[in-house]
Amino acid sequence: MTTTEHATHATHATHTTHATRPARWPLADGWTIVHRNLLALKRNPAIVAANLVGPIAMVLLFGYVFGGALAAGGDAAAYREALVPAAFVLVAGTGLIMAAGSAALDVQNGVTERFRSLPMQRIAVPFGQAGSQLVLSALSLAVMSGLGVLVGWRIHTDVWSAAAAFLLLLFFGYALSWVGIYMGLLIRNVEVVQQLSAPIFGLVMLSNAFVPTATMPPVIRDIAEWSPFSAAITAVRDLFGNGTIPDGPLPLAHPVLTTLIWSIALIAIFGTLAARRYAKRD
């Protein structure tokens, strides 16, 4: 058998393997990638800290330095309590950058090329990256909750509402991680990906995270009220009992439903784009 025949035979074998694998295998392959990424997390726990630097700085800066000036009636303690759910949502936003960085690093280091050569489902790699980001978000939220309690944040609703809030945060974060994975595969440069942190923080700023949208000028207010971050923050505040649903347009009137719709839409769009981008060789 010649070298060319060998190569052709190997290619046929790979294609056959891909075609004949059961439908459950993307999950199994995806779990392998999750496991691989979690091992990296175990070896380098500073990743969790990196995920929390922005949200922690935000709570301390806005809670203590700007809080008195921004709080309605100057009640800084109540302001801090409403700020912590916004920090939870920022953890989800930071997850986007972490996922993008992880995907870009794998491309940059040639790991993605190695995965492509293995007899595994194409969707499994981005699926696994999103899964490991979900675990990282859960860990980050746990740490952030502890910090929240220290600055005076409390849950004022029942255990089911609180559980729903955490699940919604994780689902929203999971959706954003798909956006990050697609961007990482598209940009393919870790240094450039890290520049995304400023626009992401800007998007969180351009929401009801720090001030009520009613205090903003008309155009800015419209953007803030229709922002997915505003919907998520309002939903989480409502579920934790850290604020009432404000009068506003449809997204703020039904924040939980809006956040779910945004999350499903982001997964559907960016999940497809990420899978296509991963399958594409260039």
Partner: protein, 248 residues
């Protein structure tokens, strides 16, 4: 002196060849001014127009002081690339590359200052102190930032990498710029924080600039800022020069 100007010219040529170096002095004042004014202005001062006299001096000081970090990082990059080894072989004053870099950076501060005031003007800010007071305020900020750049130049000479210079500098600057009266009134902060904000040199500079542009008054805060700048230069200029001469 001529060597210093030649090296300063080199710094300006570098900026012309790589204009992305100016992103921090061009984008930061624009983004920060828009963001703070339109998002927080209504909540802090009741409306955007009332917040502009408070925020423009604050953004100006924060932007220009943050820009002074570049002095240290670029100095370190040049030293790492071996450019300074080449300068050593030239018949020029050994201090010229250092003093030239510091002089060239005053152009960056001038750009940031002009942009911040222009941005404020476009948004409706009208300095009550008049044009003369605005020019004096701009010169005060540039002078103080030039003095502060000696600290970062010192870090640039003694640090191992450009990223470590950036890291150390931001660790120093973040609390100084944000734990000040640049963005919100001091009396809205917790008591334990007010003490630090009141002794923070950045707060003195912000107050001095506010008094100049809004009232045309050269107050005690301006004198404190100038005295502070003189002290920084008196301490860090000899330290930086000594460390630089040892390495150059």
């Amino acid at each position: 002196m001529r060597n210093t100007f030649t090296m300063a010219y080199r710094g300006l040529v570098k900026i012309r060849r790589t204009p992305e170096q100016l992103f921090d002095v061009t984008l930061q004042p624009i983004i920060f001014t828009l963001m703070f004014t339109y998002i927080f202005g209504g909540a802090i001062s009741g409306d955007v127009a009332s917040y502009l006299p408070v925020i423009i001096p604050g953004i100006l000081v924060q932007t220009v002081i943050t820009t002074s970090v570049v002095t240290g990082t670029q100095l370190r990059e040049d030293m790492d690339k071996g450019v300074f080894d080449r300068f050593r072989s030239l018949p020029i004053a050994r201090i010229a590359p250092l003093s030239g870099a510091l002089l060239a950076d005053t152009v960056r501060y001038a750009i940031a200052t002009t942009l911040t005031f222009t941005m404020g003007y476009l948004m409706g800010f009208r300095p009550e102190g008049g044009l003369g007071a605005v020019v004096v305020a701009a010169l005060l900020v540039i002078a103080c930032s030039w003095a502060i750049s000696w600290i970062f130049a010192f870090f640039g000479v003694i640090a191992r990498t450009a990223s470590s210079v950036q890291g150390i500098s931001m660790l120093v600057l973040f609390p100084l710029t944000f734990l000040s009266n640049a963005f919100v009134p001091v009396d809205t902060m917790p008591n334990w924080l007010q003490w630090f904000v009141n002794v923070n040199p950045v707060s003195h500079l912000v107050t001095a600039v506010r008094e100049l542009v809004n009232n045309g008054a050269f107050t005690s805060d301006a004198w404190i800022s100038l005295a502070g700048a003189a002290v920084i230069v008196a301490i860090f200029a000899p330290l930086t020069v000594r460390a630089y001469m040892r390495k150059a």
